[in-house]
Symmetry: C2
Subunit: 195 residues, 2 copies
DNA sequence: ATCAATAAACCGACCGGTCGGTATGTAAAG
DNA sequence: CTTTACATACCGACCGGTCGGTTTATTGAT
């Protein structure tokens, strides 16, 4: 039972909450420390900088998504069903804890400006795109989908996911987003199925 | 020729550039003033606060998109073609000037946190959704699309647009985004067309 | 078992600098 | 003389990060 590691994780989780609530720039290190019940010294003992905390949060998040997607895609089910299953886990994967969905936007924004964050995000992102493309290909080969440009189709699915996530962030109460996601993906998939 | 109005617009444009480049939080008022060749006094003469500048930028942007979409949708063409035309103008509409695409993310992020910004964004956003839904309905009634849940379909189109925008922001060089958008929308639309 | 020695973990005052915003002054226009 | 359209100087709050010092845990010799 290592207390230092507990402190580290506690800082990480607290920072995640505050970043999600107020944004990266608007959240001060002092604020994180106070909320975590830890001194500034402890913070800088465990992390070289505020950005470093953010980076670790991002890496953990991306790794979590990747493993979840891998797990689901290895189910022995028809491809269209796998797409629906992936859609169902979309909300839960993006928010590892409650209310963590805003971090999605925070990650994206930082990535589009900070080269370090960008570098951490771009490779997993490209793997996601590749992942969806491969799923579509498998679907075409299995005869579930009609022949089509798999790369564009994978792009469509990814865009759909990203777009839904972003909208649910803007207007969480405006719709039943998990249900809407399922319906949307279903509508696209049905248009692709062999008739 | 009103010089004060020129100054106002100049401040607005300069702020837009800087916000797009470095983000809202990271761009200081002093920085805007210096880049615009104007004193802080001039800035606060024309605007009550930094946030107010942002808000006006947002309103202009939304109004621009709305009129552009209205114009295109009134073309006398089959609905599927109108969707493709809308897709083609997507890149140009989102960036009123060069390099202004990052403002999209900036607007979204602020809207998801600041109630004032949110209020300015949510109504136009809902109109956009309604707009796409109506287009789909027109398409179904005209016999271009097979019967379908128009609301979900409209949601799909909007999600696709938002998702593509966000991705093009993350990896501008990673793909030919206008072409990819056209291909993606085409792929979805084709799946909905009457066969 | 005890205790000195060392390292790890942590504290909080403090630093230079930057922030959004304000107060005051002023030159030109009407 | 008043109003408009600015410019300049300045304010207190806050920022990320540092630093000298203190507490706690671990180790090794006795």
């Amino acid at each position: 039972m290592s207390r230092p590691n507990d402190t580290r994780n506690h800082i990480l989780l607290t920072a995640q909450h505050l970043f999600a609530h107020s944004g990266y720039a608007a959240t001060g290190v002092a604020e994180i420390c106070q909320a975590a019940g830890v001194s500034k010294g402890a913070f800088y003992y465990h992390f070289p900088s505020k950005q470093d905390v953010f980076l670790e949060l991002l890496n953990r998040w991306l790794a979590g998504i990747e493993t979840a997607m891998q797990t689901i895609s290895q189910q022995d089910q028809p491809i269209p069903q796998i797409f629906l299953n992936l859609t169902d886990m979309l909300p839960s994967v993006v928010q590892s804890a409650d209310g963590q969905l805003p971090m999605f936007l925070e990650y994206w924004q930082q990535a589009s400006r900070d080269p370090l964050i960008w570098q951490a995000m771009i490779d997993p992102y490209r793997r996601f795109r590749q992942f969806f493309t491969l799923l579509v290909q498998r679907g075409v080969e299995a005869g579930d989908f009609r022949p089509m440009e798999a790369e564009a189709a994978g792009q469509v699915i990814l865009s759909l996911a990203v777009g839904l996530l972003l909208q649910s962030l803007l207007d969480p109460q405006g719709a039943d987003w998990p249900a809407l996601a399922r319906q949307s993906v279903g509508l696209v998939i049905r248009g692709w199925e062999r008739t």
